[in-house]
């Protein structure tokens, strides 16, 4: 059996793993100087703004609130619980039972007029920054229930960031909505929803 031996060449391709190992060893020994040292630092240190790092962290852990309104909640559970569509890949599997610990709320089902003040209260109890995913046709537009008992779309009484269509949406679709929300969180600097929706003056006064 032939063993191929390669020499470590410090002047070789700088992306080669062996070369990088050699460089790191030299740096730790204090042997790198001048241009080599600068090049080393340039390759191994990443610079960003605090805001971007913060949004990156937020986007990768959008903890939802444990709150199901109707049949869509079953699909929401399937998004979390099934190994096929695993929400923990997006960091969205940690369902919190308290609105104080949750980052987003998934409106999974139809919103009745009686439930709307409850939902609004829970939403107001959540801490900034907070996001809302409207899941399914009923939460987005009351779906087939165009009648006296239901709110015709949850965005009539609370701001909604992402609408996921379907009746009910498949777990994949909801996870796609979560990814969309992540992109939204990463993409724009956090302003709070009042600035996002030009809703100054709607603060609740106790």
């Amino acid at each position: 059996m032939d063993v191929i031996r390669q020499r470590l060449d410090e002047n070789g391709d700088p992306h080669d793993l062996r070369v990088r190992q050699l460089r790191a060893r030299q740096m730790l020994r204090g042997e790198l100087e001048g241009e080599d040292l600068e090049q080393y630092v340039e390759q191994s240190v990443m610079l960003t703004t605090l805001e971007k790092a913060q949004n990156w962290a937020r986007a990768n852990a959008p903890w939802p609130l444990t709150f199901g309104l109707a049949c869509c909640a079953i699909e929401m559970i399937s998004m979390v619980g099934s190994p096929r569509v695993d929400a923990s890949r997006m960091g969205a599997e940690v369902f919190r039972a308290s609105p104080r610990q949750a980052d987003m709320i998934i409106l999974a089902g139809r919103v009745s007029i009686k439930m709307a003040p409850v939902l609004r209260r829970i939403y107001d109890q959540m801490l900034e920054p907070k996001w809302v995913i409207s899941m399914g046709a009923c939460a987005s537009s009351a779906g087939m229930f165009n009648n006296y008992a239901l709110v015709q779309g949850a965005d009539k009484f609370m701001p909604v960031d992402i609408y996921v269509p379907g009746c009910p949406p498949r777990p994949e679709a909801l996870l796609y909505g979560v990814i969309k929300l992540q992109n939204k969180i990463k993409g724009e600097p956090d302003m709070g929803w009042r600035a996002r929706y030009q809703a100054e003056g709607t603060e609740e006064v106790a």
Binding site: I113, K114, A142, N146, N147, Y148, A149
Partner: protein, 173 residues
Amino acid sequence: MPDATGLELIAADVRDKVGDEAVVDTIYYREQATLEVAPASVRDVLVYLKEHADERFDQLMSLHGVDYLPDEPRLGVHYELLSMERVERLRVRTRMRIDDPVVPSVVDIYPTANFQEREAYDFFGIQFEGHPDLRRILLPEDYAGFPQRRDYPIGGEPVIYTYNEHQIPRWYE
């Protein structure tokens, strides 16, 4: 199920024991026996059927309101009775006018009627006299109107279809 003859026997029994004016009608349709009674004597009839009759109906399976628009008297209450012993069912029905929707409550004889009478009140506005706690059960407590009445508007929002898109003003904006 009492058959048609059995229903007439029950009706005769009730007429005899509760009063002649209590039974308004008997209906036997598709093997279902219905005893229609006057609203004022509903409670007496149910007390008799539950506790004093020879063949008793000991359980109230369901109580629900009905709106018979455009017929008059418009509102109705159905009591679905069941005899656990003989596995027989009897429907007691009463109908009242829309301007006087009052019927005596049966909560003290059938406790299960508590929530169901509240539901019938919630959606049809039927007043159950003697109910311990007659208030809305499903709709918000400040809701106006009784939405399951058939002359109540269905609510919601107008939906744009091709046949009415030009009737909804400035819908395209």
